[in-house]
């Protein structure tokens, strides 16, 4: 596979604000407020924050699924207007089409892009082999475990080699062992392809183990509270990097920032406020 030009795949958010009208209430809910940060091409950035702080909303905005209320998002200098074909998105719940087989699901983006059938078949076979599901091509999603479905979702996104991959708590529903395996696989793929990854999670350990930088969001309305650079050496193994002497120190520093927001977010959710 070709190595890529490091200057592409950067994302710039400038004063991004997102508001939703609340149905049956005569007011708006602000999900994201004046968020500004930059992500360089090929960088692995995690966004952490309490539940309902607008992390997922932010991904939807970058993906162009929802237009921003105010502010500006640019990908490689071009403002986002609508869904960008150079971008990939791995959803929290795997969004595989249940009526299609593993091979058909992985090949779907190539079909949509009009890649000719023979070339598409080769790329699909290559990715199915990479995720270790050779032999499962004809299976339907319901026949696979959660971890396998996640792998298929990952292959479905990577098969068209998007320059930017957005991931919305992709491993949240997996058990710890499967999750660590998937995280290591993800790091391996990332090291090989060097695509920009924006990874949303509520798990600080996961964020530290994976990322170059971490964006900490406040409780809703979500603002950027702080951005941390993770200096841990690469290549990393998510299971072993936790024993690195700097890991605990980083965790403590970032958690100090995060815990007030988590408490605030929790208290608000107890009062039944939106978000």
């Amino acid at each position: 596979m070709a190595t890529r030009d490091d200057r592409t795949g950067n994302i710039v958010l400038e004063q991004v604000t997102q508001r939703f009208p609340l149905p049956r209430e005569d007011r708006e809910f602000t999900a994201v407020q004046d968020a500004s940060f930059e992500i360089g091409g090929g960088e692995f950035v995690s966004i952490v924050g309490p539940s309902g702080c607008g992390k997922s909303t932010l991904l939807g905005l970058i993906a162009g699924l929802v237009p921003v209320t105010a502010g500006r998002i640019t990908l490689d200098g071009r403002p986002v207007d609508g869904v960008n074909p150079r971008l990939g998105f791995v959803f929290q719940r795997d969004a595989l089409l249940p009526w299609k087989t593993v091979a058909q699901n992985v090949g779907l983006p190539l079909l949509f892009r009009g890649v000719d059938a023979a070339a598409a078949r080769a790329r699909v076979a290559d990715w199915i082999a990479r995720i270790g599901l050779t032999g499962f091509e004809g299976y339907h999603p319901y026949q696979l475990s959660g971890g396998m479905r996640k792998r298929v979702a990952l292959a479905m996104t990577m098969v068209y080699e998007p320059e930017i991959v957005l991931m919305d708590e992709p491993f949240g529903a997996l058990d710890v062992q499967t999750r660590n395996l998937m995280e290591n696989d993800l790091l391996e793929i990332w090291t090989q392809f060097r695509r920009t990854v924006v990874f949303v999670t509520h798990d600080l350990e996961e964020a530290i183990a994976l990322s170059d930088r971490i964006v900490v969001m406040t409780a809703s309305p979500g603002r950027v509270k702080a951005v941390y650079t993770i200096t841990l050496p690469r290549p990393r193994s998510v299971t072993e990097i936790r024993f690195h002497p700097d890991f605990g120190r980083l965790y403590e520093t970032i958690w100090k920032d995060l815990k007030d927001e988590v408490r605030l977010g929790y208290e608000r959710s107890q009062k039944g406020l939106p978000g």
Binding site: F89, F91, A95, Y160
Partner: protein, 261 residues
């Protein structure tokens, strides 16, 4: 243990019980009419029914009428389904349209359409057309509502994922929306086919010169209970055949679903 100690009855045993019950019922019916406990003029008699149906089959009389009924049912069912799916897609796509027509659809659906049959016969005559219209009016709403619900209930993540993967509107309909709606349409298929047959038979019953509805109506006008019941039995057999076929068809289209057991 009392709760988990329930013995599982084998399929063969269940079949035997069914046969015993049916046989017992027929026997009781036969004996009751022969001993004049009840008057066979009103309730007919199993042997008389058998003779009647055998006669119909031998002369080929019943096949002509069954064919007419099936023709009306199938044509009406196909057109009604097509129309229901099309309007369902239209309304799911243009929310405003759905909002404007919502009260009308609900009102039309609530109206007992069987009562409209005489009007349809008046408008479209005694032949095929009035029955087909009757069937469409019944099938359309079942299919429309399930298509519309199916499309509105499509998983948002699936749609967003397809958009990001590069689906154009045609891809979206073919690979995401239609298969998703199909599961809903199929789940209502057995209901809508049942409705289709009811529509055709009621239409024939009220005004026609052929078809199973006509056979039953004619027998009734002759005070021939045997004819009425034999007609019903033939219809019942047809329904069972259709139902088995539909179950098979559904299984073919649900290959991607876990077996619900």
């Amino acid at each position: 243990m009392a709760t988990s100690g329930v013995k599982k009855v084998s399929r063969a045993e269940i079949r035997v019980w069914r046969a015993v019950l049916l046989g017992g019922f027929l026997l009781l019916w036969e004996v009751a009419t022969r001993r004049a406990w009840v008057d066979p003029f009103f309730v007919s008699q199993p042997t008389a029914l058998a003779v009647q149906i055998a006669g119909w089959i031998r002369s080929g009389f019943i096949f002509r009428h069954l064919f007419v009924t099936m023709e009306e049912t199938i044509i009406g069912f196909l057109l009604g389904t097509l129309l229901g799916v099309a309007v369902g897609f239209l309304f799911a796509h243009w929310e405003t349209l759905a909002q404007i027509f919502d009260p009308l659809m609900v009102a039309l659906n609530a109206m007992p359409r069987v009562v409209l049959a005489p009007l349809f016969i008046l408008w479209f005559g005694l032949g095929l057309l009035s029955k087909v219209v009757m069937v469409i009016s019944l099938v359309f709403f079942v299919v429309f509502f399930s298509t519309y619900t199916g499309l509105r209930e499509v998983d948002r993540d699936l749609v967003n994922n397809a958009r990001i993967l590069g689906a154009n509107p045609r891809h979206m309909i073919r690979h995401v929306l239609l298969p998703s709606a199909l599961t809903w349409i199929f789940s209502s298929l057995r209901t809508s086919v049942g409705f289709a047959l009811i529509g055709a038979v009621v239409g024939e019953y009220l005004g026609s010169h052929e078809g199973m509805g006509y056979v039953i109506s004619y027998a009734e006008s002759m005070f021939n209970a045997t004819g009425v019941l034999a007609g019903l039995l033939v219809l019942m057999a047809a329904v069972i055949v259709i139902d088995v076929a539909l179950k098979r068809l559904d299984a073919r289209f649900s290959y991607w679903k876990p077996v619900a057991k």
